[in-house]
Structure formats: C-alpha cells, structure tokens
Point group: C2
Chain length 366, copies 2
C-alpha cells in the first residue's frame, strides 16, 4: 500500500517511520529532498499549495494524507481525483478558519471563549465593547505557533493590533485566564471505531509548545473531552487522528483549536503509549483495527527549538528518547523533541527539571 503525504515535515517523517513496519510505502510532496520526510521516504518535488503538484502526487499513490494544515482545500479536492484523502477535506476546511472552527465546536455544544468576527476597525471596537478586555485579535486563517495574533490589554492596543493584522479576515476572542492548557488526541477509523489517548498537559513559551506531560486529566475531565471529540469525529465521518486543544479553567474545558492530524502534544505516544499516534493515524485512515492507546507509565515530551542539544548528555538519562527531525538550525524552529518515560510522576518531574536547562542551554548557544 502506497501513501502520499502532502508536506514532508516532521509529522510526515514520524508517520513514515511508524508505517514502514506495517509494510506501507511513503511518497511525500514538498519542495526539497532535504526535508524531514524526504530523508526517510520518496519525494515528489513540488509545491503543496498547487493543485497541479498535488495531482502528480495523487497519481503515484493509493491514499493521500497530509502533515500540514494549510493545504488549499479546493485544490486538494480537485487534485485528489479518485485517490481517497483522509482526514476528509471538509474538516480540514473547518480547522483552517477560526470562525468555522468555533461554529463547529458550538454545533456540538462544546464551550469556547466568546468571540466576534472582525472585518473592520469599527467591528473590532464593537467586539471589544461586547467581550471586554483583555482580548486577542487573531487572523482567522493560517496562524500557528502564536503567529498572526495580537493581544489587546487596553484601548491603546486596539490601533496597534488593527494595523498589524488588518487586510485579512479576523476574529476577536475573549481572553481566557486559564489554569492550564490540555489537549485530547483521538482516533477514528473509517468503520467508526474510536480510541482516545489520555489528556496531555501542555506548556507554551512565546506561543510555541515547549512541554507536554501525560496522563494529565482527572477521569471526569477525560470523559467529558472524549465525548466532545467523539461527537466531532462522528459528525464528519472522520478517519485518522483528531486533536482538540483546550484551556482548563476552574475544572471546565474551553475548546481553543482543533487539528485534523497528528499533533505535537502527542509525540510522547511514540514511547509512552502502547501504540503511537502516528501508527494509529495510519490505522484510522486505512480502516484497520485501532491500536491500544494505553499509556506506559508517565511520559513527558520537551520540544527542542532552534538548536538540538547534543545526543550524549540527553540519552544518559534512562528511558529518555531523542528525536532529531533532520532540519537545519534556525531560531525558534522546531528541530526535534525529547521524550522521557517513567513509572511515576514524581520521578518524571525530577528528570524534566534536570533536562530542561540542558535543552535550553543548547538553544541559547548560538
């Protein structure tokens, strides 16, 4: 079975590494042979924003999936032709637009921050009046890792935020003074079987994920999040991994975003769960029985940004796993991650405390 992956980043790379043992073959679509995916699989050189190039990939494989969220949905629909695409373009479309995404959450009674679409400075001012401050003005489309957002704390920020972001469709979101951020990663196969990983607790720095720790949820919270994610997946006849990022506030879950793909906050599942999110994504899109999502003890994933730490001091820690995506260093770029697995949370926390400064020191070295 040959699978085409649109985008040859680290998500596609880890998908291929998980899929080879299943006897699958992988071809990526991206601009360079030196991308994380193309280093471990075949490549069709091209631009995944172009229907023409997606069409060339589709012609070489039996099934399409993607490792990037900004694939143009219309082009994808046209270009795929008879080649099935999973997760389905419809949900990708909803996830690409913060307004559509909020409306999808609302349809399933999933709480979100209050929001208003914004298409003019006047609309922004009205929205601020309605939602109050602080609030966050965001591009509806193509924002990630904190880009395309402006914080509005006081009236003076309105002008700055508007000038920075105007020209694109925007949304104002009420600021949630959350206690913590968590994410739920679930998987569904085409026949409707579902499975869910334990909630992961996520810590961001400057808008970029730094640390995920799992399991991180009380049973009631886990169960509430699973019910929500299951409804989202069933509504869309979803196949593959679907992730919802939440704010947790006073024990309530407030949905922030969804991602119709494997997710950075689930990388710990490679070593920390019986079946990784990457293998389960493949099982889902291929309509195979799903693998156990049972955690193996307690796991943490630390992102390596800008520059990788040296291998040796990291893997000196027992049960510590180094993941280098094969990318060249660049400030704040996600180059890899480190996973730690321990039987108990206390010893996991102790390792994180030792590892984190080592990882940050490497990043600051340039």
């Amino acid at each position: 079975m040959s699978i085409g992956i649109i985008g040859a980043g680290q998500l596609g790379r880890m998908m291929a590494l998980a899929g080879y043992p299943l006897g699958l073959r992988f071809t990526f679509l991206d601009k360079s042979k030196d991308t994380p995916g193309a280093q471990v699989g075949d490549i069709v050189l091209g631009d995944f924003m172009q229907a023409e190039d997606i069409r060339r990939l589709a012609g070489e494989v039996e099934l399409l999936t993607y490792d990037v969220e900004n694939v143009p949905v219309q082009a994808l629909r046209e270009a795929a032709g008879d080649t099935p695409v999973h997760p389905a373009p419809a949900i990708l479309e909803a996830a690409q637009d913060r307004l559509d995404e909020k409306q999808a959450f609302a349809r399933h009674g999933i709480e979100t921050a209050p929001y208003r679409p914004v298409d003019s400075k006047e609309a922004l001012e009205t929205a601020i009046e309605a939602l109050g401050m602080p609030a966050v003005l965001k591009r509806r489309r193509l924002g990630y890792d904190g880009r395309g957002q402006h914080f509005i704390r006081a009236a003076a920020d309105i002008e700055t935020a508007w000038e920075a972001l105007k020209g694109a469709p925007l949304i104002l979101e009420g600021f949630v003074d959350f206690d913590r951020e968590v994410s739920l990663i679930g998987v569904r196969n085409r026949s409707g079987e579902t499975a869910f990983y334990p909630l992961s607790e996520n810590s961001h720095e400057d808008g970029i994920l730094r640390l995920s720790v799992a399991p991180a949820g009380q049973p009631a919270l886990q169960s509430e999040a699973e019910t929500q994610l299951k409804a989202l997946m069933e509504d869309h006849g979803y196949a593959g991994i679907l992730t919802v990022e939440y704010f947790e506030k006073d024990g309530r879950l407030i949905a922030n975003e969804m991602a119709p793909r494997v997710h950075n906050s689930g990388h710990w599942t490679i070593e920390g769960a019986a079946t990784s999110q990457f293998e389960n994504h493949l099982r889902g899109i291929l309509d195979l029985p799903l693998g156990s999502t049972r955690p193996r003890g307690h796991a943490a994933m630390i992102n390596c940004l800008g520059r990788m730490p040296a291998l040796e001091p990291v893997i000196r820690f027992a049960d510590t796993h180094y993941h280098d995506y094969g990318k060249s260093p660049r400030p704040r770029r996600k180059l890899g991650h480190i996973t730690v697995v321990r039987d108990d949370r206390a010893s996991l926390d102790a390792v994180i405390t030792e590892l984190m400064p080592l990882i940050k020191a490497a990043e600051g070295g340039e």
Copy 2:
C-alpha cells in the same frame, strides 16, 4: 552522522528505522533498490562480497557496520580504509568459522558441544568414533538457518553426510539433546560500558527460528551467560550488539554460536524493552551511553516465513505489532515478524496460541 550498512536486509532496515530519530543518516550497500533497507534509506548499488563496492560505500559514510555475517573480512579490512568498522572485522572473522568460534568460546571457558575438525572421510570416521552418534556434520563457514548441516544418527548416514558436504572445511559436533535453546544479547560501547537483555527462549522449525519469548532465564543462568558474553566482548574490544546462542541442558549452558550483530531472537526488544537492540547497536558503535535493556513485561516474537499474514487479523490483538520487511514472498523466507507484549506470561502464552495458527495458515496458503 552518516552510517554505511553492508547488506540491505531486514536487520539493516530496522537499524535505520531506530537510528533516524537519533539524527543519523543511512546508506546501504546491496544489489537492488527494492531491498528492505534501501526502501527506507539510500543505496549504493553493488555487491557486498566485492572490496571495490565496499570501498565505494566507505567513501560516502563516516562509519561502517553490517547486517550480514558473510562479508569477506579481508576485503572489508582493505576497503574500509580510514572509515571505522564496528563490530571489528576480527570478531566477524571468528564468527564466520565454526572452528574459530568454538576456540574463542574455549578461551573464555565457555562450554560447547564436543567437536572435531573434519577434512577427509577418514577424519570424519575418526571423529565419529571419538564423539559417538548422534552427531552433526557442518560446514565450518557460511551455514545459517540449518543450511550446510547433516545429521548423523547411524553409520549409514556417514557416507550421505560426507557426499553432501565434502569439498568445504567441515566440523563434526556432538549432538546436544538439549532441553531448550536460549540466546543472550548484549551490547558494549567503545568506551567499555556493557548492558544485557534478558535471555530469550528460542524455538526453531526446520532449522529456522520460529518463536522467541523473553524474559526466559532464571537469575543464575542469566548471570552466567552475562559473564561469558562480557568476557567475549572485552577480549575483542567489541562495540555493538553481540549475541550468543545456547543450548540449555540440565540447567547448564552450552554455547552453540555467536553472531556479531543484531539478532533475530532480539526483535522483541523493539516494543518489549525500554531500548531496542537496534538503537543499542547504534549507541554501541557510536560510543554513546547505552540505553536501558529493561523488559516491558513479557514479549514474544513470531517469525513470518514465506508469506505474511494479513495485517488486520494480527493487529486486532491488543499490543500486537506487525513488522513487514518489504520482501517478496518465497517459501521459508523470513518476510517479517509479529511481536506481542503482555504484562504476564500466561496471557502472553494465550495470545501466542491464538496467533501461531493464523500465521502458519497464511504461510500454507500458497
């Protein structure tokens, strides 16, 4: 860091899949692009029996290792030039010749079956008188998976065995009526750190490994085997994985063979141990700290011979992992393996009982 692997079989493939997360790149030397290794890495097309071709590979990488045992040692030494080769050619040489191998065991006081070198029919007859029957006549070099061997149960078999094997250097080994077969897989890095996996119990069918189950040894047996393997590794300044296959008879360990490489009886470590034999081989040859060899519960590995079972019925069993090497079907050929991991031995045995017929049915289907 770029690593050259001589031979692009399944062992090299699994080594590459384990090494990509460490940021390593892999180039194989083999005859076809459709080999298990070349499907997941780069390939230098050539013949690993030819010094010229090994030289081309050495020119492209920083470190050489191998996934086949029959690399011609003299060619390897010459061709490697300044490129380090691990495990060192000296131990490969000893492992390629059953007589040298027995003598290496003897130097460390490791018990083997009684044996006699055989270079004529008269020598065979004298050896039979000394060792008695049953005995096994074997080629000293290039035998594996039961090939190049003849069983001698009665005087009438002597002529047949001699006619079948004459012309190559031979060895007669006393037959060990063993209780079971076990193997110990150990690893050493270039600085001298060592680690050992739990003993695995191995069952063969028609001379080919069918099933390995681990952990399988009483502490005293484990400790005895570790002492022996450690001595072998230190004697040779060894780096990488070294495997010794034993017969166990009345609680005694009788060494049968050694393999200076990752080993089929250690494939269960991919999911069944904290660090796989493939990652630890790489850590050893790169002189990195070794990873924990701690087992995750009880694991079994079943080889798939001749034809792979379908994916779906196999992965329906929880914690069951499918490994397809990407090879084309051929009777008795090792095409893949299935690993099962369970918390307790009884439930592991129950799954083996269900899975084995399913795997054999697939093989018999052609």
